[in-house]
């Protein structure tokens, strides 16, 4: 642990940023919650909220330590002149078990109290898991999902966060291999968060199978005001996410802030233009989706491109996502709320475009292909992205299969038809009628799958 003095301005900013990032998870709950049908809104929101519960506790117990403890790994040839040769795989889970020792005024991380860094990174872990839930809307048992958050946190997120975010000598002597050995640039988590969550969402969507009616009914958002609220809170919180990742309040944070604004602005415009010309109408769901796509794309790049570069990164990635969200209909995986289409694709574009647009005048000081830097950074970005994609997909798939074989994943067909809110939470999202019925319920039917005509049952691998 580096021993520097605590800077109150940097600490103020990072504590603020941490709160902003924490707010992103409720924001995501509303973004996702508004996109499902009225009968599933509570379950959708609960999938995000429960992540705050399980990951919040795990992070304090050993999650932080698995990510930021001194890394276990091995020596390997360096990838750069005088670059590190240590290939770090997993932080020591016991070093900071229960956050021991970190309350001391001497425990610092850079210019921050160690606990401020713990706080900031905790919220990254929470939202990463929550993001995955969008791929399996309306149909996953709440118990199954809760178990998934625990296993995915331990087996996927904590290690990968260490690979990407743990720099040598910051909280431990050795950090993770992507940040140090490979040297891929990932300012705030394009790989560790978005590629990671996005591809894990694909694994889950494949294991759970599509919703009843997928591809034949539109299943449009039931409450676009909630979606817009989510998008607004996400954008707001993302300033903490990206600019906070500078871990100090200075030029780097300010550049990341401006890039987070302008890439997102460009991304919103790009998505709306695609819709305008492809579908005839720019939609509010398109605006919200463009916002998120832009935020995802600029996440890895916020510290390494110029504001003008950020316009390109946001615009290109968003247009790509606007097309990618249609792929699920083509290939038949029900990525219900476009976790793959937006987070995986957007994260991938953002991560790789750094290799093209990295500006040597930006805080990262690296030149991408278009700035005369050649392909050196490009291949590092690609390798980082691919590594996380493969690891996350395989492990998530295995976790998902394990849950399916043990406690089970999917609610029954009748329950899915009646609505998951009532069966899993015994609640209904809304009762806005001014008329007061005594004890009205919205749950109605106890169908079995056999009661449905063949055509209604999709080929879901239940």
């Amino acid at each position: 642990m580096t021993m520097l003095e605590i800077n109150s301005g940097d600490t103020a900013w990072v504590l603020t940023a941490a709160a902003l990032v924490l707010l992103m998870t409720p924001g995501l709950a509303f973004f996702y919650g508004g996109m499902v049908r009225a009968k599933s809104v509570l379950n959708m929101m609960m999938m995000s909220f429960i992540s705050m519960g399980t990951i919040g506790v795990l992070w304090v117990l050993f999650g932080y330590s698995m990510a930021f403890g001194d890394s276990i790994g091995f020596e390997l040839g360096a990838t750069r002149d005088e670059g590190p040769t240590f290939f770090g795989i997993l932080g020591n889970p016991f070093q900071y078990f229960g956050l021991q020792g970190l309350m001391s005024p001497d425990a610092v991380a850079g210019s921050l109290p160690a606990m401020a860094f713990v706080a900031f990174q905790a919220c990254f872990a929470i939202i990463a898991v929550a993001l995955v839930s969008g791929a399996i809307a309306d149909r996953a048992s709440f118990g199954g999902w809760t178990l998934f958050t625990v296993l995915w946190g331990i087996l996927v997120y904590f290690p990968v966060a260490g690979w990407v975010f743990s720099f040598d000598g910051f909280t431990g002597e050795h950090g993770g291999w992507i940040a140090n050995w490979l040297g891929a640039l990932d300012f705030a988590g394009g790989t560790a968060i978005h590629i990671n969550a996005g591809i894990s969402g694909l694994a889950l969507a494949l294991v759970l199978g599509p919703r009843i009616g997928f591809g034949t009914k539109p299943m449009r958002p039931h409450n676009m005001t909630l979606v817009m609220l989510g998008a607004g809170l996400l954008w707001f919180g993302w300033f903490g996410f990206n600019a906070g990742s500078a871990l100090s309040a200075g030029t780097t944070a300010s550049v990341a802030w401006v890039n987070t604004l302008v890439a997102t602005a460009a991304a919103m415009l790009a998505w709306l233009l695609v819709e305008r010309f492809r579908d005839g109408h720019p939609t509010s769901l398109g605006a919200a989706s463009g916002v998120v796509a832009g935020l995802v794309a600029i996440t890895p790049a916020a510290g390494s491109v110029s504001p003008v570069g950020a316009i390109f990164v946001g615009g290109i990635a968003s247009a790509a996502c606007a097309y990618a969200v249609g792929l699920k209909y083509k290939f038949g995986y029900d990525d219900s709320l476009d976790v793959v289409g937006v987070h995986f694709v957007g994260g991938l574009f953002g991560t790789v475009l750094i290799g093209l647009f990295a500006d040597p005048n930006s805080p990262a000081g690296v030149a991408g292909l278009f700035y005369g830097g050649g392909v050196d950074q490009l291949w590092r970005q690609a390798v980082g992205a691919i590594a996380v994609t493969v690891y996350a997909f395989v492990v998530s798939y295995l976790i998902a299969m394990l849950i399916k074989r043990t406690i089970g994943w999917r609610i029954t067909t009748a329950d899915e038809l009646s609505g998951i809110d009532l069966v899993e939470h015994s609640e209904a999202g809304y009762d806005l009628s001014p008329v007061y019925y005594s004890n009205k319920v919205q749950r109605t039917l106890f169908l079995t799958k056999d009661d449905l005509p063949e055509t209604e049952t999709t080929g879901a691998s239940k």
Binding site: P218, R220, R278, D279, G280, V325, G326, Y329, D338
Partner: protein, 112 residues
């Protein structure tokens, strides 16, 4: 006594209401419904995919009238609700055995 039920376009509700009231009808009951009929095939695009729309929001009017007025009220409604477009709706008449006004307990014609 008769019960006139009309399914009309939401946008014409106000003019229909004014027309029947001007005609002397003193009360009516209104609700929102979804209609399925000739007016369909409307196609919407969502996330780049096209879907056909089946149900369309309509308004349902129920008016209790005395037999002799019935015919005319039906005409007034139909006239005021007509835009000439597919989806304008239907008006139908059902016989009513008895009517009671809750407030007073009056029944029959007096209750209309």
């Amino acid at each position: 006594m008769k019960l006139i039920t009309a399914i009309i376009q939401p946008e014409v509700l106000e003019q229909v209401m004014k027309a029947v009231v001007r005609h002397g009808v003193g009360g009516m009951t209104i609700s929102e419904v979804s209609g399925y009929g000739r007016q369909r095939g409307h196609v919407e695009v969502y996330r780049g995919e096209e879907y056909t729309i089946d149900f369309i929001t309509k308004v349902r009017l129920e008016i209790l009238v005395d037999d002799p007025e019935c015919e005319e009220v039906v005409q007034v409604i139909a006239g005021a609700a007509r835009t000439g477009q597919v989806g304008d709706g239907k008006v139908w008449v059902v016989p009513v055995d008895d009517i009671v006004r809750v407030r007073t307990g009056e029944s029959g014609l007096a209750a209309v």
